[in-house]
């Protein structure tokens, strides 16, 4: 499926939909294994397995307008829509871009014909959290990050947080800007007093 030595793919990409693919692949594999087992049993013993008797009798007596057919059809439509949505919906990017154009020397040629510098969402969240805990008044902090927003949840021992939220958002935004993220994600903060 991939040749060794081929060019690298972009680091900042959409989700690969591995989990829906694993689920679908497992179901398909299980169906194949089941069919193989049924047919091998038939060929070796001369008769289909007993577990098949009930479904065959049920299928023989099934009419098109039976409730079971409606249920199967509805389930198939729901499953088909879910699969299509998994395939069509792009999903959020896995990483944020860092603008590295101003980091090199002015007269030097670019080190590579194609450059890409990214920071994962998890790394951005870690950076934001680490900056938060350095701020006076912050007891503990946790952060989550998307490509557009970073949100930090802060616990403080101060009864009156005052301008703590503003100081947190300013400091985290400055840190992210200093790291070179472009565009800088919007920073929001929730401050909770620990009583």
């Amino acid at each position: 499926m991939s040749r060794p030595g081929q060019r690298s793919t972009r680091l900042r990409h959409r989700p690969s939909r591995a989990i829906p693919a694993l689920i679908a692949g497992t179901i398909i594999l299980a169906a194949g294994v089941g069919l193989v087992w049924l047919s091998v049993t038939r060929l070796v013993s001369g008769s289909w397995p007993a577990v098949l008797q009930g479904p065959v009798d049920w299928l023989a007596g099934l009419a098109w307008n039976d409730p079971a057919v409606w249920q199967i059809g509805t389930a198939a439509i729901v499953a088909g829509v879910v699969l299509l949505l998994c395939a069509i919906i792009p999903g959020g990017f896995t990483a944020l871009t860092i603008d590295s154009s101003g980091t090199g020397t002015r007269d030097a040629a670019p080190p590579a014909q194609e450059q890409e510098t990214v920071m994962t969402r998890r790394a951005v969240a870690h950076l934001a959290k680490a900056r938060c805990v350095q701020i006076d008044g912050v007891g503990s902090a946790s952060a989550t990050a998307t490509t557009r927003r970073v949100h930090v949840n802060v616990t403080t021992s101060l009864h009156e947080p005052g301008d703590l939220r503003q100081r947190i958002t300013d400091a985290v935004r400055a840190r992210l800007e200093e790291a070179g993220l472009s565009p800088v994600p919007q920073v929001t903060a929730t401050v909770r007093s620990r009583d």
Binding site: L29, G80, V81, A112, E114
Partner: protein, 205 residues
């Protein structure tokens, strides 16, 4: 760093989705009798299976066909599951010789990658790094994953990599880098290089 099967997954999920959606829609149209009006199919009150199903399944040939279908389906499912394993797809040996008439010069890209990692690991703020070379000796393709401390100057690390490490690699290969992809990760750990000296608390005059 590693490459995954994003395009393959989305393609087959879309195909499966369309097939399952079409089958479900056809089933509901048939169950409601609508399909009979347009395509003259069997009436909704009729049995799904017309004829003797037991007699149809009796011949050994049917079991052989089911076996083949099961094998094909099973293999396709297994291949799709295996495709989810992220792959490095690193380059084979770099051929550094011109035409080979006076001998071959081969270089394992992992040697160059190790040298790049060793240099990057000495940079201030870098906790660890991983380098992967793809492409060929004339068009090298470098992917880097650098983990920095959460107090490190990220832009400085990037600048040092771009002004020192990458030009040196390009110089070693005598070819410009086709592409360079750098992923920055952040860790709470500190840099691991250097020697740890333990203090005994003894003062000597």
């Amino acid at each position: 760093m590693r490459q995954n099967a994003g395009t393959l997954n989305r393609t087959w999920l879309a195909i499966l989705g369309i097939l399952v959606l079409a089958a479900g829609t056809a089933l509901l149209l048939q169950a409601s009798g609508t399909l009979q009006e347009f395509l003259n199919t069997a009436p909704a009150w009729q049995s799904v299976i017309t004829g003797d199903l037991h007699a149809f399944l009796a011949p050994q040939g049917v079991a052989a066909v089911v076996l083949i279908i099961g094998l094909i389906i099973g293999v396709l499912g297994l291949l799709w599951i295996i495709a989810q394993i992220p792959r490095r797809n690193s380059a084979g040996a770099y051929r550094l010789h011109d035409d080979g008439s006076q001998g071959f010069t081969l270089c394992d890209p992992s040697v160059l990658a190790a040298a790049v990692e060793k240099q990057i690991n000495t940079l201030p703020g870098v906790v660890t790094s991983a380098a992967l070379l793809r492409g060929s000796a004339n068009a090298p393709d470098l992917t880097l994953k650098v983990t920095v401390n959460d107090r490190a100057d990220v832009r400085d690390v990037i600048r040092r990599i771009q002004t020192t490490t990458l030009p040196e690699l390009s110089s070693a290969l005598e070819a410009p880098l086709q592409s360079c992809r750098l992923q920055i990760d952040v860790s709470g750990r500190t840099q691991s290089t250097g020697t740890v000296v333990h203090s005994t608390g003894t003062v000597v005059y």
